[in-house]
Symmetry: C2
Subunit: 511 residues, 2 copies
């Protein structure tokens, strides 16, 4: 509680807090830039220390060391910091910084655990942070961490697990708060930090943590998710939503045992063909899902979202070249547009054997794994209901377990449907005043290059915040897109930490 | 050459050969029955000796011992017997018996090799023939082989590899020839025997053997294939054809690598869905193949074939119950009718993973293994051409190897089609005089229960004889349908050997 709050109190007493940050002699962004130029080596040294702490969620001792480190650091910055706990799961590091006079609260989410590691693919130990002169792919070479006062090249990369995902925000946020303290700048908002320790394990207890501490979280006006990489072009990015996700496994049945394809072929139903017909009935040649009602509840885009979409860089042609695609589903709609509709994909297919193990049989069954991505307005259970209704409309009797002989004899077509749960999408309305403030502030830190993405294609349980806590939530990433997140040789480009510092400076000082 | 031919010469000299067998005081069938009643124990003892010889085609020493045994036995029966050889492959045992005055030649095909053995599943050693009081499933117990003169129960079973498939014809044929010799009965036809040693290995050199020795085989008027089991009802059986077989492997392509189903789902083409649409276009809901021209060249049935079909026992309802099928393809047509049309089945499907290994990806490709069974009039290459034309008509560019990036970018839909070779069907016209003679003779041996099957669903390279040698060919099985062929505890019901003896007696003495 010591340093920062004292400084804040002093500054507040001087009446500076009331003045917009941009009117100060030196803007917070400029102040942070100057701080970073003076202390680059120390910032990297501190980050190296944090990255050296093993942080796989299943390694209880390791994640606790990370959590305690973060709690102590927040404590040193003047936060009321503590560890929230539930039995058998990593703690949440929770911190609260009240700024006298502030009428708004920004809540910051970061996760401190990292993807599990198969050390085989790593050039260096995942928790032995190693500095490179640039990325390995670009021919970078290892070099010592800089001495205090030594110039820092933004193209340098630090290799370590979680360097990009998701410890990078700590390496940018803590120095900003140090700089604010040193320069006597106070944040313009109260701050909450909520640091999760098992995001890479699928956030199994996140909802429980949020529900249990809802009282303390309720003052947040907006959640900033400090996670993920910036745009592949390197341009800064804010994302306003994510798709939800769910899945179904569908198995159809032929004879009770694989049959000789000669003795029975043309008479015994062929499950691979039945499944193909069933799947083909679900989607047309252009990629449109034919399941009745699939698109009916999709929340339409507002003017802001439409404008953001139109302003997105067109990376589709390059992506198509890279992926060897001569066509895409729903063409000529762009990838970004297509992500605003729910999707139905075949993640897996299996029946009998293919390749050298194939046999001249009619297999007994065929299975498809169907993946559904959801968008704002669509509900996982509802879409699963619609897919089941579609399967039923194709003449199938739906079961939950493998059918017995009696059931097989009673129903000409049987589909076992296993619903695999999931969660809904989340999208924050870009026209909300607090969202507009965040975007305006981010433009100060990020410049005109800032890309506004209505929704990510991937899924995060952001709905726990938007639906669960009823708050707007936006994703504010800082890592480079080529950070090898979830993979060996994960890294952060030092320039992206510097970008993060200026972005956070602008956000903490936003009007 | 000794015994039989001398006897035949003597009988011929007495003018008996000119008289139809049925007018003799004791018919050949009756004579053979009496011989068997007197010598049952000796017949089983001889079969035990033959079954004790290991006979997997890949065991060169073993198959040669079998071949030499069979050659010597034929030699003892008066045949001109020899081993035909090709380097690196089991010999064919070839034997020729010329009957003075005979104007017709019956060629008999049997294979003396057996399915490879995994001894794990066997109750006794596969080459330790063991006699049971009845089938193991029916509660049979092992018992000693009988002493000469001891009564033989037709329900006894001999357990050993190849007991049913395909040494059983030897156990019936040799005693018939012994009986004919003892009773002074001459066959009414010249005989050729052609005994293959690698049928269970797929008959890779059969065509070469036949071509090389065509000159000696050309005198055959009809080939009798002594192989396979009788009707599942236990009724005797003659089959006039088999289906041909071929196969195609079809792979369709999405992105060059599996993609995150969130980031790209709804935009990147999904190969599992493309493949489903492609397969669904090939067959309608009733099981009719929609590939243009697929049925156009099918040879229509003659009146005899139609009558045989109508007279077949209706086992479909029982089979459907056993297999848990509430419907069949092409219903209400029977299994036997459906086998007279070419079939297209999905033997295997694969894309990504299913079950616990499934991941949230759009897989890079999807593969189907398609099996085609052919009937008389259809050609494997031609049907494969038609399927390829169908795939092309769905907008696919067909390749033979995985496409490179340039090819992927040039073609919106690419299918790799691997044609896996195969061979045509064979069907012998039931109205040919020699075929009518065979059927009439078989009725003497088998009675009115004889079932005439226009075609088997399975495939054998019978076309090598019908198309290759230009001769009619019919399949005359004697083994019980529950003989566990190709499986552990293979067996023969002794009564089926007795049936085989009477059947062969009738055939060898046919008008």
């Amino acid at each position: 509680m010591a340093g920062l709050l004292a400084a804040v109190a002093a500054v507040a007493a001087a009446g500076i807090l009331a003045a917009p940050a941009s009117l100060a002699a030196q803007s917070p962004v400029e102040a942070v830039r100057a701080y970073r130029e003076a202390h680059g080596a120390e910032i990297l040294a501190e980050y190296r220390e944090l990255l050296a702490l093993p942080n796989v969620a299943s390694d209880s001792a390791g994640v606790w060391r990370n959590a305690e480190y973060l709690r102590d650091r927040l404590d040193g910055l003047g936060f009321a910091a503590e560890l929230l706990t539930l039995p058998g799961t990593p703690p949440v590091v929770f911190g609260q910084l009240r700024v006298p006079g502030a009428t708004r609260t920004l809540a910051l989410y970061v996760h401190y655990d990292g993807q599990p590691v198969d050390t085989a693919g790593w050039t260096h130990g995942p928790w032995e942070p190693t500095l490179y002169t640039r990325s390995m792919e670009a021919g970078g070479e290892p070099r010592p961490f800089p001495e205090p006062g030594e110039a820092v090249d933004p193209e340098w990369r630090i290799y370590a697990r979680s360097a990009g995902d998701d410890k990078a925000p700590f390496a940018a946020l803590f120095p900003v708060l140090d700089a604010f303290r040193d320069e006597g700048i106070a944040p313009t908002s109260n701050l909450l930090v909520f640091l999760e320790g098992e995001e890479e394990a699928g956030s199994p207890r996140l909802g429980e943590y949020l529900a249990r501490h809802r009282g303390r979280l309720d003052e947040a006006d907006i959640w900033l998710f400090l996670d993920g990489p910036v745009h592949p072009t390197g341009r800064p990015l804010i994302t306003f939503g994510v798709r939800g996700v769910t899945a179904l496994s569908v198995t159809v049945y032929g004879p009770t045992r694989p049959l000789h394809s000669g003795h029975y072929g043309n008479w015994a139903p062929v499950p691979g063909m039945m499944l193909s017909r069933l799947l083909a009935s679900m989607k047309d040649e252009t990629g449109r899902v034919l399941v009745d009602g699939f698109y009916d509840t999709v929340e339409p885009l507002g003017a802001e979202e439409r404008a953001a979409l139109d302003a997105l860089p067109d990376t589709d042609p390059e992506l198509m070249r890279e992926l060897g695609l001569a066509r895409t589903e729903g063409a000529p709609e762009s990838l970004a547009e297509r992500l605003l509709l729910p999707s139905l994909t075949v993640k897996g297919l299996a029946s009998g054997n293919v390749g050298p193990l194939t046999r001249n049989v009619i297999p007994a069954e065929a299975t498809a794994e169907l993946g559904i991505r959801l968008v704002e307005g669509t509900d996982p259970d509802h879409l699963e209901d619609l897919v089941e209704a579609h399967i039923r409309a194709q003449g199938y009797h739906i079961v939950r377990d493998d059918p017995d002989l009696e059931s097989r004899l009673a129903h000409p077509r049987i589909a076992k449907v296993e619903r695999q749960g999931g969660y809904p999408a989340a999208r924050t309305d870009m026209s909300l005043p607090v969202v507009r403030s965040v975007v305006a502030a981010a433009r100060q830190g990020a410049g005109d290059e800032l890309v506004l993405v209505p929704t990510l294609g991937g899924s995060l349980p952001l709905y726990l915040f938007t639906d669960g806590l009823g708050k707007p939530a936006v994703i504010v990433p800082i890592a480079n897109a080529d950070d090898n997140q979830h993979a060996p040789d994960e890294n952060i480009r030092v320039g992206n930490l510097w970008y993060g510092m200026e972005l956070f400076a602008a956000l903490l000082a936003m009007e």
